[in-house]
């Protein structure tokens, strides 16, 4: 082999070796960068999943809170009108019972007294009421006693409390030992009625 041929051989072999070295390095470099990009893609996927989940949870929580808030507002409106009804009834009861000459109220007061006394299992019953009502009851003691005795089938003694109580109307009946009490004031009746028929009141208030 000539010297020139040998030199050419060395040159070719060197070029090949250089190409191989550089090519391997470039392949390895591509792999390193590719792995870095894959890693970031995985991180992005994970973050996207996390963000989606967080946003879904946020949506669920916020919608739920908003609905709770809305339902609370609806309840507030209903409560507001229940209170309005209660206050209006109370006002009308006050006007109705404050008229001294209202015969209808006097009849009702008599009935309230008889009902309260008949609810006390005792031969002697004490009655409390406001000043105006006590005056009326005092004047009509006999009528009430006689109606009650007739209803119960035996004599019942009725004693009026000397001290007037603060009520818009109606009576409180007590047994003489104070152990049995029947509160038949208009406020107490209003409270009871309201509790008993609250559902009906709500239905009628909000019907078409």
């Amino acid at each position: 082999m000539s010297k020139e041929s040998l030199k050419l051989y060395i040159k070719d072999r060197t070029e090949e070796e250089v190409k191989k070295i550089v090519s391997e390095a470039e392949n390895a470099a591509d792999k390193i960068i590719g792995e870095a990009r894959s890693k970031i893609a995985r991180i992005k996927d994970e973050k996207l999943r996390k963000v989606k989940k967080e946003m879904d949870e946020k949506e669920k929580a916020e919608i739920s809170l908003t609905k709770m808030d809305g339902r609370r507002r609806v309840m507030e409106v209903k409560e507001e009108f229940l209170k309005k009804t209660f206050d209006e009834v109370k006002k009308r009861l006050k006007n109705f019972s404050s008229s001294k000459t209202n015969e209808r109220y006097q009849d009702i007061l008599t009935a309230l007294a008889i009902e309260a006394m008949s609810g006390i299992e005792s031969k002697e019953v004490k009655i409390s009421a406001n000043k105006g009502d006590l005056d009326f009851l005092r004047k009509n003691t006999q009528v009430i006693k006689s109606a009650l005795s007739k209803m119960k089938g035996s004599e019942v003694d009725m004693e009026l409390d000397g001290k007037a109580i603060d009520t818009i109307g109606g009576v409180i009946a007590y047994s003489m030992d104070g152990k049995k009490i029947y509160n038949n004031t208009l406020e107490t009746r209003l409270g009871k009625v309201f509790e008993e028929v609250k559902g009906k009141i709500l239905n009628v208030l909000f019907e078409e």
Binding site: L6, M55, T66, I201, L205
Partner: protein, 106 residues
């Protein structure tokens, strides 16, 4: 004499070839080092990046819209309830009054 000059020449050629290969190795090392640095930067930048802000903004805005719509429905319901109650109030008051003033023995 010519023969030994040829051998020297060939040895020189071989030396040059080795240097060329060494240069190629240095170049390869540089390529790898650059790739590692670039990979590090890609990961670092990726980890720093605030992903999906547009997605978050869009979803937040959708949620806000839904909330507004729900609240509007409840507000309409409240308004409707108030109107009905105003119209029925006097009827209900009469009904309750009747109940309060009604006494059993009658």
């Amino acid at each position: 004499m010519k023969m030994s000059l040829d051998i020297i020449d060939l040895i020189e050629e071989e030396k040059r070839a080795e240097e060329t290969i060494e240069d190629a190795k240095r170049k390869a090392n540089k390529i790898l080092e650059d790739a590692k640095r670039m990979a590090g930067e890609i990961v670092e930048k990726g980890q720093r990046e605030k992903f999906f802000q547009d997605f978050i903004d869009k979803r937040t805005s959708e949620i806000d819209e839904d909330k507004k719509m729900i609240m509007k429905q409840f507000e309409d319901e409240c308004e409707n309830l108030a109107k009905k109650a105003e119209a029925n109030l006097s009827k209900v008051v009469d009904f309750v009054l009747e109940k309060v003033l009604g006494v059993e023995y009658e």
